[in-house]
């Protein structure tokens, strides 16, 4: 089986680390000489994991409604504007009078791409399609589209939003399914 992009990336870093360790035991420094360019590189001895704690308190209803199979947006009471991603403040009327409304599930694909070179934290997935679709009420949503064959995708095609469990992480999110 070919290696996933994640495995390749991790292998690369491990290789660099083992070079650095060899150098530390021979010359006492984590200094790697790049075989391609013959220049010296310091292999950073500090490591940082980035993991953010992001507040969803004000939009908690959106996330809690996913388990009921609903996708919600906010609507500014004064202007009638529907906001997605949901936000609880209305800059155009300078107030926070919003009501939660359910989004329709049916839409048409506005545009799409199939991601083959993935970011590090997505490199364990198979290729995936990201699309933007316009729902029947005019609101646009960006999500994965459950189809990765470009021949079976086209702008204007009908899609339906589904609440799905994203694996292997095992959390609720939404995606488009071709109708």
């Amino acid at each position: 089986m070919p290696k996933s992009q994640k495995e390749e990336a991790i292998e690369f870093l491990k290789q660099m680390e083992s070079f650095a360790n060899t150098m530390k035991s021979s010359v006492g420094l984590p200094m790697i000489v790049d075989p391609k360019t013959n220049v010296a590189i310091w292999y950073d001895q500090r490591e940082l994991t980035l993991k953010f704690m992001i507040s969803v308190e004000k939009t908690r209803k959106f996330f809690e409604s996913l388990s009921e199979g609903k996708l919600l947006a906010t609507k500014c009471v004064k202007t009638g504007e529907i906001l997605f991603p949901p936000q609880v403040d209305c800059p155009s009327s300078l107030d926070s009078e919003v009501e939660w409304v359910e989004l329709p599930k049916d839409g048409e694909l506005t545009t799409y791409t199939i991601i083959t070179t993935k970011p590090f934290s997505f490199s364990h997935y198979n290729d995936y399609t990201v699309g933007i679709a316009k729902l029947s009420n005019g609101v646009q949503v960006l999500a994965w589209v459950r189809e990765t064959d470009p021949k079976k995708l086209r702008i204007g095609m009908k899609v339906k939003l589904e609440i799905v469990k994203r694996e292997p992480e095992g959390y609720l999110t939404y995606e488009f399914v071709p109708v």
Binding site: V39, T111, T113, I114, P119, F122, Q140, L142
Partner: protein, 396 residues
């Protein structure tokens, strides 16, 4: 409108994988050249604006590190960020400092060291540049992916093909082959581009700009000071700036970048130019070709041609020297390289060289109008700057 501002010094490092230097040494390469070309020293500079996006590189406060290394400690100092348009924002920031009368001499330095992190980490950082929580966290878009959303829509609406997109890459690699500062100094042919692998369908590896380390610097001066420093100032005629929504789902159209269009109109208005059929005003342009589709949209957002006709321009060779308007004679982001924070400064340095007939052999535009235009986009139309430069002093 403020005071008139001229570019009086420029510097530009070699772009590429520059692990032979650290971030300060890399910035110094450009700063030193800028000092030399303006015949100025650190003590003359009254204001410093450093553009760097970072994340992938070690120094979290790159401006102070660069400034100390270059002997600029003590000066008013800013680190500015507008994603891939950070460089233009640094130039604009320095321009405003001079134009407003706050200072007479200001410096803009763009520097980026992307190769301090492994490629997948860099792909991750750029992919997060939009609305991280709503569009990256769950859906893992990449930078090529964002532009691919535009490519799909553009190609579907106007009938442009993957071959047409590749023509941009071929042209920019051609000119990069004459640019010793470029990351890729080699020509490519259509099969090389067409046979490269998809990175974000319909975009392929050769539709994309590379991961680059590099720096560029410009020194700006007020009219009074510029007169004393140089006989050949390049004037900043105008800058237009605009922004677009963080979430791509909030955009109405995926066949052009609205922010770039707004910035262009603003720049034309300030410079007293019409905003249609604009190619005739300029001898040369540097546009933001982070992906081939981006250059095609730039032709239209800048008003060189009507909507839907951008791909025909490159297909017909009209953006080579001798055509309607030569574009990206530096090799562009595509082949010169795209060190995110340095790109916008690099564009202004490059166009100043072009206007002064100092570009390398094989890539010098014919200077007749004495006017050039830079188009620099941050993120996916999240930020946009259009800068017009000219040999004639701007009108009052």
């Amino acid at each position: 409108m403020g005071r008139k501002v001229a570019v009086v010094g420029i510097g530009h490092s070699k772009f590429g994988i520059r692990n032979d230097v650290n971030i300060a040494e890399l910035a110094w390469e450009s700063i030193k050249q800028a000092f030399e070309s303006a015949n100025l020293e650190a003590k003359d500079v009254e204001y410093v604006s450093v553009s760097n996006v970072g994340g992938w590189s070690g120094e979290p406060l790159p401006a102070v590190v660069v400034s100390e290394y270059a002997g600029l400690t003590g000066k008013p100092l800013y680190r500015v960020e507008a994603a891939c348009a950070s460089g233009s924002s640094a130039v604009y920031n320095a321009y405003n400092a001079v134009s407003s009368g706050q200072v007479d001499i200001a410096m803009a330095v763009g520097v980026e060291k992307m190769n301090e992190s492994p490629t997948p980490t860099v792909v991750e950082f750029i992919g997060r540049a939009g609305n991280y929580f709503w569009e990256f966290e769950n859906f893992g878009l990449t930078f090529p992916g964002y532009y691919a959303l535009y490519a799909t829509a553009y190609m579907s609406k106007y009938g442009a093909t993957e071959e047409d997109l590749c023509q941009v890459a071929i042209k920019n690699h051609y000119y990069a082959s004459f640019n010793p500062k470029a990351q890729f100094q080699r020509k490519i042919d259509l099969p090389t581009c067409m046979n490269s692998r998809y990175i974000a369908w319909p975009l392929k590896l050769f539709d994309a700009s590379p991961i680059t380390d590099g720096s560029a610097a410009v020194i700006l001066a007020s009219e009074e000071v510029a007169k004393k420093i140089t006989d050949s100032p390049v004037w900043i005629h105008s800058v237009g700036a605009a922004s677009g929504s963080a979430n791509l789902s909030k955009r109405n159209d995926f066949t052009g970048l609205e922010a770039a269009s707004i910035a262009a109109k603003m720049a034309y208005k300030k410079a007293g130019l019409e905003n249609e059929n604009t190619a005739k005003y300029f001898d040369v342009a540097e546009v933001h070709d982070c992906f081939t589709i981006a250059e095609i949209m730039a032709y239209e957002d800048l008003g060189f041609v009507k909507r839907g006709e951008g791909y025909k321009l490159v297909k017909e060779g009209q953006t080579y020297i001798g055509g309607l308007i030569p574009v990206n004679l530096s090799g562009g982001l595509k082949a010169k390289g795209h060190p995110i924070g340095a790109t916008g400064v690099s564009m202004v340095a490059e166009l100043s060289k072009q206007l002064l007939n100092k570009a390398d052999k094989g890539r010098q535009a014919t200077i007749k109008n004495g006017r050039a235009i830079a188009h620099n986009v941050g993120g996916t139309g999240h930020y946009a700057y259009v800068t017009i430069l000219g040999l004639d002093k701007p009108k009052d």
